[in-house]
Point group: D2
Chain length 480, copies 4
């Protein structure tokens, strides 16, 4: 192991110390990133004349060979304290002393920052792709349901009649903001850290712009002392995951409720519903419950990172290695939840009749009636009070607001008339709300267009981000 | 209290219920936001012909009067469950039934979202202003210290000699990323929520673009059902505050350490150092400790918001009122810490001699020596091992690396010569690292320029955001 | 200000530094704790001959006078950096130099630890008292509802018929564990920190056992260097509050759902239900939503404390001052939620008919049928499959499980007979589950007894903890 | 897969749904717990006559066989959605329909609660054992260093001279409180959940006391509806881990600092110190940094659990499956850190000379001088000011407090004399602080005794908790 060589005058670490400090079990997952980063670094060293072309060719060949063997499951990083050392050790076995030229003008501090940034950038792109597909699906479903009545809820009480398309487009609007958050995380990750050495740069004539171009980063990092201790890009990605999974948790709560016997708005297809080991009649919305529950892991990951970073001294500290768990978990977590949410939406059926009945039943159109009075010149608060009294009287008589007899209404206030009472039809209440953001069908279709725009943006961002294997193949083919 | 009127058929809430549910003690802090929002709403209602000009003029006058009286401490919101109801009640006392026209086409759900967005937008701008001033100060200090030697640290061990300017510019580089984070939060807050009513829009002919223009928001919100339940802008602001205060906690740890007897790099001025109630000799860095400690409050605020949001059903839920504590705390917290950090930097003196001595003392230039060998063609890993052996020999002999006799070096490896050993002079080690991100003086001055750019950007963003009193005066003067 | 005296050779702190570092706005709330602690310390100093009796009498009188004036709102701590210094300054104004004897053998480090421990101990007792009252109420309600049918839920799907008493006793069982958690927090707080000085003890002949006895602490702290930096007791209290408020959040979710139109199990009394500013028909369960939402503040407080403590060096660090916000918030938060939960339970009515109908409607008794088959010797998994098939057939035929005709059952499996099908009556399904922890009425009454035991234990713990004013009066009367 | 059988009328789950919902990759780690729990359940079923002895013997044999094959790596749970189903499927392959008798009167809801409680109980015991060993080591080290001088620190400034034994015993006192916290977690886990079925109990004549006795739980759970949704025992264990790892993070910060060039108090042995990939001279305290950093994972685990639990409806919800990650991580995390801390303490050497020099150098004895004045009758605050002035004069003259000439002292105040100045000798300052909790040698030895008591208590608690393989062997041998 190179990090504990004779050079350092050490007799080797205690086995339990090595086990405790090793990150290999986790950062083995970063092998592709490490090899791609090393290839780009090697190209730069050769181009700048720091490593001779002959030596560079040998190392290049060995790195390509490692990728190929790893892809074929013929080799995996073993026996060293981390993936970087495992690669260097394997290169040394293959090439001897010349392998030692690869680590020129590089430290594990900037190397691990590179691997992590490559990882987060690729994962953020993957999440954006999954998110875009989900938004497209929501747009499609919402567009199909602009005429389906359903109650909206505030305080989990029926509030106002809306269309199901409006509800679904609302989920989309919430998730569309996550495109912004992951785009921010992607941009913050899109910075080349390599080239600052252990902390203060290097005295060798490297050219960081070359490496940046090869790895297609947007910018290079500004200060070495900051670069090696910085995990903001990981925080930003973990935060975007949190925000997004909190959104998913809220959608999941709705679907858990909507699929209960009490609501009965949604029926889960058999391929989606889970059973019980003891109660043979159950068709449970486990998928939505797990989506909801996984917000815990997201918040845990972010908190974990924040606590680890808190109060660290300047420069690099080994504490940072504890980033590995939360960073590696975040991408699969977000992709898993968003992908499953799309699958779940494809495997449920809304019961239009029960939705419409719930929207009609009761008093959810009270505000519409009040607004109709406002159009007649009644101050809103007075109209609110008139309608409030009418609702109470109707409740006492056991009659829905849409069925209130004119006589009853006029006994509350003579200003009520037949035209006004028509405002209390749920379907008309929906049709009438066409200002932007409202539940009227044209308004919802405009919202659907915005979702499509957000989906397209997510897709573009994902597509513009180079995949690791794409980078590898480009570097493999590029002449040294 | 309007929310509990005869209209709702209620006999009034239990006093303990009212006390438990009231948010007035907290959202009293949102009075300016509420009045500005109401003025803009009123303008729109009048422009759209929903409220007659005469009525609008009366309400306008009463709102302006409330602002004036509140500014002169002659009135404050009292006796209602929240600031919105307190304002409406006061308007009703002044104007009677006509006051009831203000709440037309508005719900507390979109109104509170508006107040919070106005608040977060203004606070984010304030933080950016404070952050810009801090970055300017760091740029100035860094530029002045490009020639001061100090050790850099990894693992809290002396690592490589750098300039103090490099260290300070590194703090700046870290904080410059917070300009990005607060700019993101500012942009996410910059969306008009008003006009979506309780959840589904309104049947009245409002024009949200008018309100948006008056309040100078960048966009209007997309979906009402999402708008009333959305607190992402608060999360984003709380998150930016977390990230920034975690940075501050790390800088603070450095200054706490640097001002210890052991490091002795920094002397706190008397106006900054705190005493002890029991130990008369103490000059304590309490300011930096509190800066470090306040990262706890920042993370707590973010966590609190995330937990409150988790798993909420769609639409508005009263749980959201619990946003008030963390949202109102975040701005002052961030501004307080960043402002104090700037004051603290102005009230410390670096002991150049002790800094330089620590940089020279020892073996921090070992990498430079290895890189000098690389320039001679030795593979880095071999050079690393040669220098490692030399360091051990020097340590055994009790001699600093910069003072190693040629004979000793050559006994380790004959390839060492006098020119090579000169690479081990700390000042030259610094001068030689001029690639971007390095500690060389030209490189640091380039970093300083980047800090100035970030400071200027922060200042521009802050200046472009309308202040609440500016909005008020514009609305006050604008003809209805 | 004493902490920044001539003794320390300082010209005084910058005003912004003083504002930033002052804790007075928060620890003013600890005045009673500070005065009680000082009185006990003074008694000990006098008893040990460290302060002469005459001087002690003067200081004693001035401390008692301060308490009296503060109680009458004639004095409050002002103008110093914290409550301790404000008290010492006021004593000095009254007594001159002799006031300076009170701080003998004491540091603010152990003094603030004492104030906080006195505070947490009293608050934990207060929470236990409130929790005991809530448990008693749940016991009473549960006992009254052992015969009311309601469905139990898993995955928010109707699972098995139970009694409402069982549901309520289940809430109680959950909250009864919080008696354990608060008892643990109370015990951890019940340790005298005073007497360890700034960090290492004192050379004066104090007797910590005397102070302990006067303040009725269970033990004295073990090590000074640990004592001044320890906030575990605050963490434990914040954690107990978290765990308890998470429980409350779950109960609140049930009540929010149960009071929806869809469930319709619970009707909120008018004194408990909140209205809407826009929708006159609403009767919203805001109380339960706020109970649910306040779990966010609890988790935020705990996280805040943990982050602040993370990685602090040994001994006292000023970062610890940031404990003040979370510590002072936790007690009122827990008492507020638990008290309101009790009030809310007193102001709701269960709709027995709807509850029973939901329990009968459907297939929640499937497990009972399977268990009846087990009693006949069918392996459970086979019985599970038989009943599962029967449920599917019944669903296809639109018939509830309790109404399945014998012929249909026998067409599924000839082993079904009339006696077996009787197991599918919901009320019998409940009556039959009398093993401990089950929903049978005798079992539930046993659970009620356990709740009464937990309530009594909570009450005893609260009663055994001395109140601050009780301590004050005892110290006031005690001869020096 | 049994949970998705024909009985439920399902065509089987979508593969991506199965992948998303499966917990097998995690709960495979609970195989031992599951088998032990099933054996005890089977014994109870047989004893109560619910499963015939012949059938029970077959199942018993198959369960023992599974344990044996799993122990020999000849079988592991595969191909089902969780470990429970994998075991049942394997039993069914071996035994056919009779295997279906094992799940009688049991649900996965109470079964998983049992597995988790068995796991947490065993892990808590393991942590206590590790913690006990660490406390013993600290006691031993502290006892050996009662005469070694070192400065104590407040605000990271030298505060007062203490013994190194006092510092080490202080760490011990902090960690001794974690014995309390893990004991609490152990006790909360020590409750049998099995026997409450899916949520409401069972109609079969089970005897939970029998199962309790076989598994050596202290109590049985009180209410089924609570039991299946309760994860408090997991929270308590995660919380104890947090509190303990926060302690470890603070000790780690001290050792990171103490091993810096600047402090130079501690030298890491070669077997403990890590190297650098770029800087050959480095001997880094990575072990302590990782110990510090792992507090992040602990807080993340706790937060994750709390967020997942927040706001869940009553009863069992599948969200609870997300407990698996944090629960399974906590034990190894705590044991890893505590075990490594003990190893680290065994592999460092304190530099007594540098410690003593730091304690003598300067003004850390100022409080002792002030207390000596108090003994002469000077009020403490006046003495504090006299000594403060003396310190300033000594600093101006560049003389340490222990070397202040009498003339200088008397020029500050004539009350200073030679005997008083002797109080400023660091070693005497230590010797004089013998009150409980102080740094005097007898006091420290008393603290060491308390540590030994805590270590013994931790060991006893661990030893009293049955290990899983012990339970297995007892159940294996026990006649049915």
């Amino acid at each position: 192991m190179i990090a504990k060589t004779d050079a350092a005058g050490a007799r080797g670490l205690l086995p339990e110390v090595l086990a405790f400090t090793s990150s290999l079990s986790q950062d083995r997952a970063l092998l592709a990133e490490d090899l791609v980063g090393s290839l780009a670094h090697l190209h730069m060293l050769a181009r700048c004349g720091i490593v001779a072309r002959d030596d560079a060719l040998k190392i290049h060949g060995a790195l390509v060979d490692l990728w190929t063997r790893a892809a074929a499951d013929l080799w995996s990083p073993q026996g060293e304290e981390d993936v970087h050392m495992a690669v260097e050790a394997e290169l040394t076995r293959a090439l001897g002393e010349v392998a030692g030229r690869l680590h020129t003008a590089r430290s594990r501090n900037d190397q691990v920052a590179l691997d992590l940034r490559l990882h987060v950038r690729a994962q953020a792109a993957g999440v954006l792709e999954t998110l875009g597909a989900l938004l497209s699906k929501l747009a499609e479903l919402a567009a199909a349901e602009v005429a389906t009545l359903i109650p909206s809820y505030t305080h989990r009480q029926r509030a106002q009649p809306v269309s199901l398309g409006y509800v679904l487009a609302g989920y989309g609007a919430m998730l569309a903001r996550d495109v912004d958050a992951f785009a921010f995380a992607l941009d913050q990750a899109d910075v080349l850290p390599l080239g600052v050495g252990a902390i203060s740069g290097t005295s060798l004539p490297i050219d960081r712009e070359v490496t940046r171009g090869l790895l297609r980063f947007a910018r290079i990092s500004q200060s070495g002392i900051d670069t090696v201790g910085d995990r903001d890009f990981a925080l930003d990605f973990a935060y975007a995951t949190c925000r997004c999974l909190l959104h998913a948790s809220r959608i999941a709560t709705d679907f858990v409720d909507f699929s209960s016997s009490e609501f009965g708005f949604v029926k889960l297809h058999g391929e989606l519903a889970c059973g019980s080991s003891m109660m043979p009649q159950k068709r449970n919305p486990d998928v939505f419950e797990l989506i909801r529950g996984k917000s815990g892991a997201a918040v845990g990951n972010l908190t974990s990172l924040m606590v680890t970073l808190k109060g660290l001294p300047g420069g690099y500290n080994r504490d940072l290695q504890e980033d590995r768990g939360p960073v590696l978990a975040s991408g699969p977590l977000a992709k898993g939840v968003l992908g499953m949410l799309r699958v779940a939406l494809e495997n449920v059926t809304f019961d239009h009749q029960r939705c419409a009945q719930a929207a009609s039943d009761g008093y959810t159109q009270a505000t519409d009636l009040a607004e109709a009075l406002v159009k007649r010149g009644v101050p809103f608060r007075s109209a609110y009070q008139m309608v409030g009294t009418l609702v109470r009287e109707a409740q006492r008589g056991g009659v829905a607001l849409s069925d209130v007899p004119l006589a009853l209404a006029q006994s509350v206030d003579p200003r009520f008339d037949a035209e006004l009472l028509a405002a209390a039809k749920p379907d008309e209440a929906v049709l009438r709300k066409e200002t932007p953001g409202g539940t009227g069908p044209r308004s919802v279709l405009a919202q659907v267009e915005q979702l499509r725009g957000a989906a397209a943006r997510a897709g573009r961002l994902a597509a513009a981000t180079p995949a690791l294997d794409h980078l590898f193949h480009a570097l493999k083919e590029r002449p040294l």
